[in-house]
Symmetry: C2
Subunit: 228 residues, 2 copies
């Protein structure tokens, strides 16, 4: 958590389990919280937005924004935004950066949250990035958030004092599940699957990471899966 | 200029004089150049896009992208994107950060250029930020670009090696004019005015800075002005 007293928090909420737990932590740590959801053309965009709206409703968050970011999908280059690139499935043991990496995506998310925070006078940005037990994206690592924090400090008004809070960045997925259960996160309303289908596919990397997290935590995932 | 050998450059081209001169410099320093124009809902958006397209045509640049960034104008908070906030006029002597500051705008521009560069395998991003003789925006200062460069290094693939080039950041406007004349920049095709009118207004901060630059360089601005 930021050392500065909170003057408000902007929370990036995709609708996935990591951002939902991050949102619950932000709600417990700040009086004034705004949720921010970014439609960037991911395959699961509509499903993710539904999850986001269900979470807003569950927590009775009325200060929320949904905004569009069309550049990433127009550039392509990722299996998450470009349907001509196949989604990998069936294994978490691959080396290197996967084809689902959306180049520098989280910088766009942070820039958007920073602009909103600066306009609102909020001094904390929460993002549910996970470095360990994750997909190996470079923009999910703590060193990136440290560097971006400095960019915010240099690129905003001197009195903005905005810091980035990454409360689950060191957590294994199982600990995220446990923390979510402790905080009453409605996992039934979250969506992790890279596919935008009715039931989660159960075999993309994101489903596999989620299912392993629930399994290691010793609890059942309340979501329905096409195959487990 | 980057110390790395160029594998291609992405140039942020708004259509203003600073970005046009930056583009001319990029074209002189790189074999492979892509122009990137971002529509972010500025008052002069349509006029700026026309300037951008005229510059592409003038230099015969066929590798260009025009992309939308709707979040900044939907958030408001700046006289450039929010018509309910009046544009200041008539003086460059005001203290502090002006109401035309669009919170953290250039971070969005850099993030967009970085994503495009990473997808294209380009290792340089050119941006026509000006620190001296400018409007006093925090995201136009060299310290911001240094910090963002580190964020790019940490948040992209290890082999991306993308650096930010700010060739006019220390220039006074008059030197930008001189450099542009030396490189054959068609200033007639550029647009600096914050207003999106047929002729430049001649009294917003951006017009005043431009006119002072031409005046100090001892040459005439080829643009038409409503009043000079």
């Amino acid at each position: 958590m930021s050392r500065l007293k909170s003057s408000g928090a902007v929370v990036l909420v995709s609708g996935g389990m990591d951002s939902a737990v991050t949102a619950a932590i932000a709600l417990s740590e700040n009086e004034r919280v705004s949720f921010l959801h970014i439609r960037y053309g991911a395959r699961a965009q509509r499903r993710e937005e539904s999850a986001f709206r269900a979470l807003c409703q569950f927590w009775n968050v009325t200060d929320f924004q949904v905004t569009d970011l069309p550049s990433l999908s127009s550039f392509g280059g990722s299996a998450l935004t470009d349907s001509s690139i196949s989604l990998p499935e069936g294994s978490l043991d691959r080396e290197g950066i996967p084809v689902t990496y959306v180049p520098f995506r989280n910088a766009h998310f942070l820039a958007t949250a920073t602009s909103l925070a600066e306009i609102k006078g909020a001094n904390r940005i929460y993002i549910g990035a996970v470095e360990e037990d994750s997909s190996g994206y470079p923009d999910c690592r703590r060193v990136f958030y440290d560097a971006f924090t400095e960019a915010i400090r240099q690129g905003t008004k001197p009195d903005a004092d905005i810091s980035i809070v990454t409360p689950v960045i060191t957590f294994r997925k199982s600990r995220i599940v446990q923390e979510g259960l402790r905080l009453g996160v409605p996992f039934i309303h979250t969506w992790s699957c890279y596919q935008g289908v009715t039931d989660a596919c159960g075999h993309c990397d994101s489903c596999l990471l989620r299912l392993r997290g629930f399994s290691e935590a010793g609890v059942s995932d309340p979501l329905e899966y096409l195959k487990k």
